[in-house]
């Protein structure tokens, strides 16, 4: 990256109306404050705040219709917010640094009559890459992803999965510093989802910032350093995945030989019984007093495990049961 852009990026991060650089001192690739967007009187996005450090893999997690796409479109300058500010590498107008950004929209699309190699080069040309250079890189990328045989095929002749891969390569052909993927896993089979995860990790290893939206918690949990949980156009949580999980206490899973006894009084009031197992949050006083009570009360411990809360639990706790149920329904819809 040239110095001027780099300097501007850093200058932008400390601009008026923005918070300080996060504690890890990395400059921010994306920073948005109070983004609001309404369509026909309905608020699609209602005061979104997001900070994405450079080089991070960042997920925007929420059910369909939560405002993920609208948020991404505002961040990319496709549409302007009604209120709030957004900065990408310190720039208020993302088009001014279009060369640094790669974007894969939710609704995939390519010109059906175009050859793969031309489609990739064209997408590069849109970002300022000369066509000749774009074609050369397209050949490399297709080769690297085992699609050399498809280079001269028209898009309409490809399978859906191949066409999606070609579009993703077109998103990356100009070697962007920020890659924005809207529901990238949608429509991919398990194998291709795995390949995409690898590709995202490889991009991050190269220092590229990746931000993607998803309604599949596992992808965000496996890949992301930070997430923004979005529901009903609002972001109730934005931060690291670890901090999200830490928001709710670890869960204790206990199996005992005895069914009744005085030891039951040592279990916290939130305890749920599921067959032979008891589930309850780890008490604030720690596990030791509980263990002592169980042993003295002759509960007959068969097994006891402490499980850290997952992102799903965090999502339920943060976004609420309704949003979690919708997320689940979206996932099932995808699988169907």
């Amino acid at each position: 990256m040239d110095m001027a852009v780099s300097d501007q990026m850093r200058a932008g991060n400390q601009g008026e109306g923005f918070s300080a650089i996060p504690s890890d001192a990395r400059p921010l690739a994306i920073e948005a404050r109070g983004l609001v967007k309404s369509f026909d009187g309905t608020r699609a996005v209602d005061g979104v705040d997001i900070s994405v450090p450079e080089g991070a893999i960042y997920g925007i997690l929420g059910p369909n219709g939560a405002g993920k796409t609208t948020t991404l479109r505002m961040l990319l300058g496709i549409i302007d917010p009604d209120e709030g500010v957004r900065r990408v590498f310190g720039h208020d107008r993302p088009h001014d640094i279009g060369r640094l950004i790669g974007y894969l929209p939710e609704e995939r699309g390519l010109y059906p009559a175009m050859k793969c190699i031309e489609a990739i080069a064209f997408m590069g040309a849109l970002r300022g890459l000369p066509l000749k250079e774009g074609r050369a890189r397209a050949v490399e990328l297709l080769e690297r992803h085992g699609l050399t045989h498809a280079a001269d095929r028209q898009i309409r002749q490809l399978s859906k999965g191949m066409a999606q891969t070609v579009q993703l390569l077109g998103t990356l052909v100009h070697k962007p510093r920020l890659v924005v993927l809207d529901e990238p896993f949608s429509g991919l089979d398990a194998i291709n989802q795995g390949k995409l995860e690898q590709m995202i990790r490889a991009l991050a290893d190269d220092g590229v910032t990746v931000i993607f939206s998803t309604h599949v918690i596992h992808h965000a949990e496996r890949l992301c350093e930070g997430v923004a949980i979005i529901a009903g156009g609002k972001v109730p949580y934005a931060g690291s995945v670890e901090a999200a999980r830490d928001r709710i206490p670890a869960q204790v899973r206990l199996e005992t030989r005895a069914r009744e006894g005085g030891w039951l009084s040592f279990l916290p009031p939130e305890t749920r019984r599921n067959g032979d197992f008891f589930h309850f949050p780890l008490p604030e006083s720690g596990i030791e007093p509980l263990l002592k009570g169980l042993i003295e009360g002759e509960a007959g411990i068969l097994s006891l495990s402490i499980e850290r809360a997952g992102l799903h639990d965090a999502f339920v706790a943060i976004a609420g049961e309704a949003a979690a149920r919708q997320l689940q329904a979206d996932n099932e819809g995808d699988r169907a």
Binding site: D40, N64, T70, I78, H95, R99, L100, Y103
Partner: protein, 417 residues
């Protein structure tokens, strides 16, 4: 990242990327081939019919050159033309003695032509050794050589030299010139209207492909929407020029093959078309510029309207009001031809969509050039305004949200209702 690349494309570069893709895609599509051939069918059929009619009625072709020489010279000229016709065919005019000149030693060919008596393209007076051709500049240029050739052969069977043909151009009065220029203005306007009507319609469905193929969001994310609009407009303009070039060449070919017959059938002879006030070269140049402006103005409007459509069917539904709009604009401009300087003509010039039509007619009628510079600047400004407005509307109305978000908005609206 390649270090040689700048952070973004300029608006012109971005428009160029779009224009290049669209131009190639449209030009090499089957649809364009059919589009090109479409208007040629009636022309070809008309041409063939005219050619056949011309063959049948060869004797009656109106390209007649009158003979107002002595009876002996008239006869010699007619006989020589008859001998040469077998070899040269349509390159020679039909020579007919002018009955009014027979026995009239005071016959004035110039006065006769200016009075528009008879149906002669030109009249030959003088003698075989010194013939003189009287006619309009266009007809003199066309028949001076053939008349000398015929006169040479009339003097001797195998001439070694041909007599020089003196000429006398028929002048018209300023008033009659102005009135005849109306014809040039009307034809130019009609041609401009037909071309924009045929070609600008292509723009209507231009963004539907991007929307149907979901590419529009990739374009909108990478470059400003007005650059997308501008690129598409200029691509279609370039495609239009290709279309015009093909049609022009085809028309030229047809004219070369059967121009006389076409003149006979249609009564239209471009050689007799009055010269426009600004002269032919400048008039043609202005015609090209005004076509481009008319195309860009209508195209920007159509692109905006078409971009709101979600399917080809919707585009077809939109076509009718759009065609009506084109017709109204044309009628407004056409109506003002005979009212130079009137408030209505000024309104037609000021209204961007009719301005190119009105100004092209003005180029045929009035010699001033500064008005054209002003009008072209105004029209170019209007193109930019329309493109900007169209792209803003597109971003506001079309790029709303993802599929689920759209559903949410609909639900919200229903809830609010």
């Amino acid at each position: 990242m390649s270090e040689f690349l700048r952070p973004r494309l300029s608006a012109m570069e971005a428009a160029w990327v779009i224009a290049r893709r669209d131009f190639v895609a449209v030009l090499f599509s089957r649809a364009f081939l059919f589009f090109l051939l479409g208007p040629l069918f009636p022309v070809i059929v008309g041409g063939l019919a005219g050619s056949i009619g011309g063959e049948v009625q060869r004797d009656a072709v109106s390209v007649e050159v009158g003979l107002a020489m002595s009876p002996a010279d008239n006869a010699a000229m007619t006989a020589a033309a008859g001998r040469l016709t077998d070899q040269l065919g349509p390159a020679l005019p039909l020579l007919r003695p002018v009955p009014e000149a027979e026995g009239d030693s005071a016959f004035d060919a110039r006065e006769f032509m200016e009075a528009r008596r008879g149906n002669y393209a030109a009249i030959v007076t003088g003698t075989l050794a010194a013939p003189k051709l009287v006619g309009t500049e266009g007809q003199i240029a066309r028949w001076q050589g053939p008349v000398g050739l015929v006169a040479g052969h009339a003097m001797e069977a195998e001439p070694t030299a041909f007599p020089g043909v003196a000429t006398e151009a028929v002048a018209t009065s300023a008033a009659s010139e102005r009135s005849t220029r109306v014809q040039t203005a009307q034809i130019a306007q009609m041609l401009l209207f037909l071309l924009t009507m045929l070609l600008a319609g292509m723009v209507l469905s231009n963004l539907v492909e991007e929307k149907a193929n979901k590419i529009i969001e990739i374009l909108a994310a990478a470059i400003p929407m007005d650059a997308v609009f501008m690129g598409k407009l200029f691509a279609m303009l370039a495609v239009s020029f290709v279309g015009i070039a093909v049609w022009g060449l085809a028309a030229f070919g047809l004219w070369s093959l059967g121009g006389d017959a076409i003149t006979q059938v249609t009564g239209f002879d471009p050689a007799r078309l009055p010269a426009p006030a600004v002269g032919w070269p400048l008039f043609v140049a202005l015609g090209i510029i005004y076509f481009a402006m008319a195309y860009l103005l209508l195209g920007a409007l159509f692109l905006t309207i078409g971009s709101m459509a979600t399917s080809v069917r919707e585009v077809q539904t939109l076509s009718m009001p759009v065609t009506m709009l084109q017709l109204m604009v044309f009628f407004l401009a056409a109506y003002t031809i005979k009212q130079p300087g009137s408030a209505l003509e000024m309104a037609a010039i000021a209204f961007p969509l009719s301005s190119p039509f009105a100004m092209l007619a003005r180029a045929a009628m009035e010699p001033e050039l500064w008005t054209h510079a002003l009008a072209i600047a105004w029209q170019a400004g209007a193109v930019l305004l329309l493109v900007k407005g169209g792209s803003l509307l597109f971003r506001k109305r079309v790029m709303k949200s993802g599929g689920a978000g759209r559903e949410k908005v609909k639900k919200g609206l229903r809830a609010n209702a």
